[in-house]
């Protein structure tokens, strides 16, 4: 343990992964391994109603019959699903009523991470600064959700998934699994059986959510997986902007993060969903440790003229394997996907999006910027499809890859299907290497090598960064810089 801590401190001092610390708190775990009893254990821990347990057990049965997929351009040793903990809760009184009842160690953790959990801390900020409400998920459990009262005043429900299951069963039963069906894929199915917590948002008709909502996921426990489930519903004419952030301690073993995110927009509604993913990427030299980020994210633009926009900045994880997607069901609905995926060291990423055009005159736009450095591998994989009824569908895809150094790889795998003759799909793709010429040119003007790389990379990802909410764009820009430290020379 001392050695682990020493390593953690050492690497922290390098500032490469500054969220790698471990919080020492009293935790309780489900017994190691996975079986129907573990599923019952989790459900019981959360005081879930019978229907929820039945849903989980059904998912577990289906999962047992499924095979782990292997089509992605990533490689990793077989995961032993019995060698992990599926529930890690912290020992606090059931349902803390105020921050004072929460383990101070946990509060300290979020403070260290710069996440404001006290509403007055947010308010004490700069005059006129945008505010955002936070749902903080620590391992398997939601710690606290801020600004709930203020949001409730306009009818917005923002709470942990566990609470939503207890307090708003009618909404949960109507929408849960309606975008990502239980047996959609291996990891989503596993999630359905064992998901621990996550965030729930409902924005009623015509309401524009008065502040940014965000969830901050933190994996702390050893040998545990994180399986959160997020469900966001924007009712007719509603609007909400939501951001998730993630970090984890540095550990030598791999940890699985298999989340599911479901978004539903009804007529004229809009959801803007941003992700800044910075899970521990593993050791850059040996590739040891790091998070497997196998996540299913999907939006159902159910209503006419509804809109969903995914923006992701993916810098962490040993392996990233995910495709935030939009089902453009409503007529004139539109989907957007803006992505920056950075791999360095031994990281692997296979990420992209799916835009499924079902309704008429549906539009989608994809801007993907992949950056590979070190000995990493970075794949963009995307599907754009138009079904027979999707007359007048349009897509524009731009897919750029930047290579830094000589030992990394970039791949682009676009799938395009048009099943009617009245669609316009455009696809542009470029792959460039960060050139010695450019680097020298910038350095000759007075920038150090690291600063020169940052400037060039920031230029490369600019189209996507400007899609992020302002206060996070700055954060993301710093993150991009940190992720690429030491990538040249």
């Amino acid at each position: 343990m001392a050695a682990v801590r020493q390593t953690v401190e050492h690497v922290e001092s390098l500032e490469r992964y500054k969220h790698g610390f471990v919080t020492d708190i009293d935790q309780e775990f489900a017994p190691k391994g996975l079986n129907a009893d573990i599923v019952r254990f989790i459900s019981a821990k959360k005081n879930e109603p019978e229907w929820m347990l039945a849903w989980r057990l059904d998912a577990f049965e289906r999962w047992l019959a499924m095979e782990e997929p292997d089509w992605a351009k990533v490689s990793f040793p077989r995961i032993d699903y019995q060698d992990s903990y599926y529930y890690a809760g912290h020992k606090t009184k059931a349902g803390p009523k105020s921050l004072d009842e929460i383990d101070p160690q946990i509060l300290e953790t979020y403070k260290k991470l710069g996440i404001p959990l006290r509403e007055q801390e947010v308010l004490a900020g700069v005059e006129g600064a945008p505010r955002y409400a936070v749902d903080a998920v620590f391992d398997s459990v939601s710690v606290v959700t801020t600004f709930k009262k203020e949001l409730a005043a306009v009818g917005v429900i923002f709470c942990s998934m566990s609470e939503a299951i207890r307090e708003h069963p009618e909404l949960v039963r109507r929408y849960l699994g309606s975008v990502v069906p239980v047996s959609d894929n291996y990891f989503a199915c596993l999630n359905a059986a064992v998901f621990s917590d996550g965030s729930f948002v409902y924005v009623p008709p015509g309401v524009r959510c008065p502040m940014e909502l965000s969830t901050y996921f933190r994996i702390n426990a050893e040998n545990s997986g994180q399986f959160e489930r997020t469900l966001i519903i924007a009712d007719k004419g509603a609007y909400v902007s939501y951001l998730e952030g993630c970090t984890a301690p540095m550990r030598d073993e791999n940890q699985l993060h298999a989340a599911v995110v479901e978004l539903v927009t009804l007529d004229d509604a809009e959801i803007k969903y941003s992700t800044v993913q910075n899970w521990y990427p593993g050791d850059p030299e040996t590739g040891k440790g790091g998070i497997y980020n196998f996540v299913t994210k999907r939006a159902d633009c159910r209503g006419d003229r509804s809109k969903v926009s995914w923006t992701q900045v993916e810098t962490g994880s040993a392996i990233t394997w995910k495709y935030p997607s939009c089902i453009l069901r409503g007529d004139d609905s539109s989907g957007e996907f803006y992505s920056i995926a950075i791999t360095n060291g031994r990281q692997q990423a296979d990420t992209g999006t799916k835009m499924i055009h079902l309704g008429q005159r549906t539009r989608s736009r994809i801007i993907s910027k992949g950056i590979s450095a070190g000995k990493s591998s970075n794949t963009y994989r995307g599907l754009v499809s138009a079904h027979p009824k999707a007359k007048g569908a349009r897509n524009f895809t731009q897919c750029d890859s930047l290579l830094i150094g000589k030992s990394c790889a970039a791949h682009t795998v676009p799938y395009i299907e048009a099943r009617n003759g009245q669609v316009v799909f455009e696809h542009e793709a470029t792959t460039t290497r960060l050139s010695e010429d450019q680097l020298f040119y910038v350095m000759q003007r007075g920038l150090s090598q690291e600063e020169a790389v940052q400037l060039l990379v920031n230029g490369f990802v600019k189209d996507v960064l400007q899609e992020l909410p302002m206060e996070f764009a700055v954060e993301a820009q710093k993150l991009v810089a940190i992720s690429l430290e030491g990538s040249v020379g």
Partner: protein, 248 residues
């Protein structure tokens, strides 16, 4: 100002500069002329510290300080500026952002205060106007989609904003029509000062009609093989480089 002594430099193990000696005192403009392949561009890269240009012997100092021991950005901070023969495109980075980042990086390295946005904009506006550069163009990514002439003018603008002490112009006239050449030359001449020195590298005499050198050197076979006043440039224009190429 600049003092180069018996400099030898190699690229990929092949010696290109073979014992070059050159002194450029403050306040003077020196031209380096020579046939293709003489090592003109190599000299500019060696002086600015480009990777892959290996100095095997000799020295180069700026006001007594060893240039060769410094990284490219450190040389830039000490006032060494190279106007590139082929300026690079920097996608996604507006020219203004690039300029301000460079200026502040240099100021920081010198321990000076960074320049605030309003003061910087004023400076950029002034210098752009003098070079007849549309200010709107500075909001576009640097050099992306710019014409050859625009790129060269952008180099001179950077020079004017960064205000270096030792300027190297590498084939600045190439690709310029006569009007653009005049604008660029005026820009360069405006920077002549008793505290500055310039090294103008060119293949043709044409540029030297506009930027009048104090001294002209002929570079051939990696060495200075002849030096003289401005009249040497005219002689080269008339007789070509043959006799020097043979001498080398």
């Amino acid at each position: 100002m600049l003092s180069v002594k018996d400099l030898h430099a190699a690229v990929d193990g092949k010696e290109i500069i073979k014992g070059l000696t050159l002194d450029v005192p403050a306040g003077e403009v020196h031209a380096i002329m020579g046939p293709n392949g003489a090592g003109k561009s190599t000299l500019s890269y060696v002086l600015t510290g480009r990777d892959g240009y290996e100095v095997t012997a000799g020295s180069a100092t700026l006001d007594g300080e060893d240039l060769l021991a410094l990284a490219p950005d450190e040389r830039a901070a000490r006032g060494v500026f190279l106007s590139f023969q082929y300026p690079l495109e920097i996608p996604g980075v507006p020219a203004l952002t690039f300029l301000r980042t460079a200026l502040n990086a240099q100021k920081k390295a010198r321990g000076e205060d960074e320049v605030a946005a309003p003061a910087f904009l004023k400076l950029a506006r002034e210098k752009a106007a003098a070079l007849k550069i549309d200010f709107e163009m500075l909001k576009r990514p640097l050099n992306v989609g710019f014409s050859g002439g625009e790129k060269k003018r952008m180099e001179i603008l950077q020079m004017a904003v960064l205000s270096p002490r030792f300027l190297i112009l590498d084939e600045t006239d190439s690709g310029l029509d006569i009007d653009a050449l005049k604008i660029v030359a005026d820009g360069v001449n405006a920077l002549r000062a008793p505290t500055r020195a310039m090294l103008v590298i060119t293949h043709y005499q044409r540029l030297l009609d506009y930027i009048k050198p104090d001294r002209v050197h002929v570079l051939a076979g990696g060495r200075i093989v002849a030096s003289g006043g401005p009249e040497l440039a005219h002689e080269l224009e008339r007789d070509g480089y043959d006799k020097y190429a043979r001498a080398a």
